[in-house]
Subunit: 320 residues, 2 copies
């Protein structure tokens, strides 16, 4: 059974996504930490998608997209352009499905990321490091192979897949969440989480943290129209992208608030997580905790879920 890729996911679409991807993803643990709770003055629940396959929540959306394909589509495989976590996730999901994956990457992508994608059996196609070259190369690949393009976030199958992290979290903890905080980059996780709360935990307010140096989502929400990211400047490399029109529409409808955090706040939160919680998070994943710690009076006594989005960092290049 295929998910409609052209309409916003409804409640059954989210339930189906969860059921569909269950064999292909980890049910990730939820951690709590008393000393960080004391610092925050609130009860925090950390959903560890950094411990997900490929080290990021992106595995959920990629798996839902791949396993939503019709049989005829499957045979021709999937394609995307990405040098980030989506590339690895799509490569692994395609391998799980036994279908080809074509990943367009800039020639100057870090060797370790190219190697990871190849290790999952995907074909890597290099291009010049410009947006135009990426799009042209992807188009040529799709034309040549007939593969289905899976966008990293502006795709309802991907959004429904990302929603499953919040769905799991709601079930894993005994008490209802007052608030759920995700980071926002392209908006796939934020819009999916907002849909998950809307359908499965309507008392939970979903908000986002965003680096002040890459605040297109905050600006777009203020302006009431999509404002593309220009010249993002943040250590949170997963959050430098712009919202898409599908994710923005969902965010406008379901998300009340986006809070901006500084680079110093992100790095301090990241270090705190490493030192106190003993898990490896990438800078983007520390943004929700940075958001909480920025204005503690805002959250006093609340039950707050936070998604650790990923753990892919270069140990030689830590920001602290």
């Amino acid at each position: 059974m295929s998910s409609p890729s052209d309409s916003q996911p409804d409640k059954p679409a989210l339930q189906l996504a969860r059921q569909r991807i269950t064999p292909y993803v980890h049910q990730t643990p939820v951690l709590t930490n008393q000393s960080i709770n004391r610092m925050a003055g609130a009860q925090l629940y950390f959903k560890c998608e950094n411990l997900q396959k490929v080290g990021a929540f992106k595995m959920r959306g990629a798996a839902n997209a791949v396993f939503s394909l019709e049989e005829a589509e499957r045979q021709k495989g999937v394609a995307t352009h990405s040098s980030g976590n989506h590339a690895q996730a799509l490569a692994l999901a395609a391998r799980q499905a036994g279908i080809p994956a074509y990943i367009v990457m800039p020639q100057n992508a870090p060797k370790v990321k190219v190697a990871a994608v190849k290790e999952y059996g995907a074909e890597v196609i290099f291009c010049q490091p410009t947006l135009q070259a990426r799009e042209d190369t992807l188009e040529a690949v799709v034309e040549r192979t007939g593969a289905t393009f899976i966008h990293p976030y502006n795709d309802y199958r991907v959004i429904a897949g990302q929603a499953t992290a919040a769905m799991e979290l709601f079930e894993q903890i005994a008490e209802p969440l007052d608030i759920l905080i995700t980071p926002v980059g392209g908006g796939g996780l934020l819009s999916g989480s907002a849909l998950a709360a809307h359908y499965f935990s309507p008392g939970t307010r979903v908000i986002a943290g965003e680096p002040a140096g890459a605040d297109d989502a905050w600006q777009s929400l203020q302006a009431g129209k999509l404002i593309p990211q220009t010249g993002p400047n943040t250590v949170a490399d997963g959050l430098r992208t712009s919202l898409g029109e599908k994710t923005f529409a969902l965010i406008q409808e379901h998300v009340q608030e986006i809070i901006r955090v500084s680079e110093e706040e992100i790095i301090a939160a990241m270090r705190l997580i490493w030192e106190r919680m003993k898990v490896i998070v990438e800078p983007s994943a520390a943004v929700p905790l940075a958001t909480v710690l920025q204005s503690k009076e805002h959250w006093k006594g609340q039950h707050i879920g936070l998604i650790f989005t990923g753990g892919n960092v270069d140990l030689e290049q830590l920001p602290f």
Copy 2:
């Protein structure tokens, strides 16, 4: 109800320990990793005691010891000498019980470790950095306060507490384990795990990994008598201690094999865990995986449990 502190823990003692400490410890997650499984040629289950309270399995033994005390003993508190994870664990368990803790530490102990113990509300008593000074100072503290001395490992209440990590692991995974591997330092975790398997998973063979540079347990098992550690030389700072007579007797009875690993193997395993599994482990905690990767043909196709014993590392002083 108190645990007998003078006889080897039997099955009810382990069950009671588990029940007793449940409110005071985390049920830690079990992680799996497909790429490490492929490298090992076996199915590995990692029990994440690095995500335990205070970042180490030591919390289990300390909690069982503290909550085993008779009311009259409780009021006078607990004492130990340690600058490692046991000190923090005992301090936190005492705070949970609302009783005093007295921790004897050498004057040159790292400031961060002293601060952590004080943060948990314990009283720190400094001494000269010699074994004699530590023992004399502890004796004086016990005499002055009437506190009960809780040894880091050579104590049946502590051993029963450490056993609960393996008890949990056996229940958390669907299939029975062929093998369970722990590191061995003082032997509290190893002897507790061996007892847990003996009573609750008799088909599981318990073995240990030990740094070749601190191989008193291997030597003792070979010689059939306790051979103290002299001049340990290993990055695995949690494993530099000697076995105690209580832990050695249990290990002699229940553990068939201790395997020695090199410093390079420990560091490589530690880095692999950080990079692939996205959790922070201290060098000691990487010893079981180093053991598996050292001789893969030994383990082919087996289901192997490994305990990640702790995650307390100085991020400024990583060995890689």
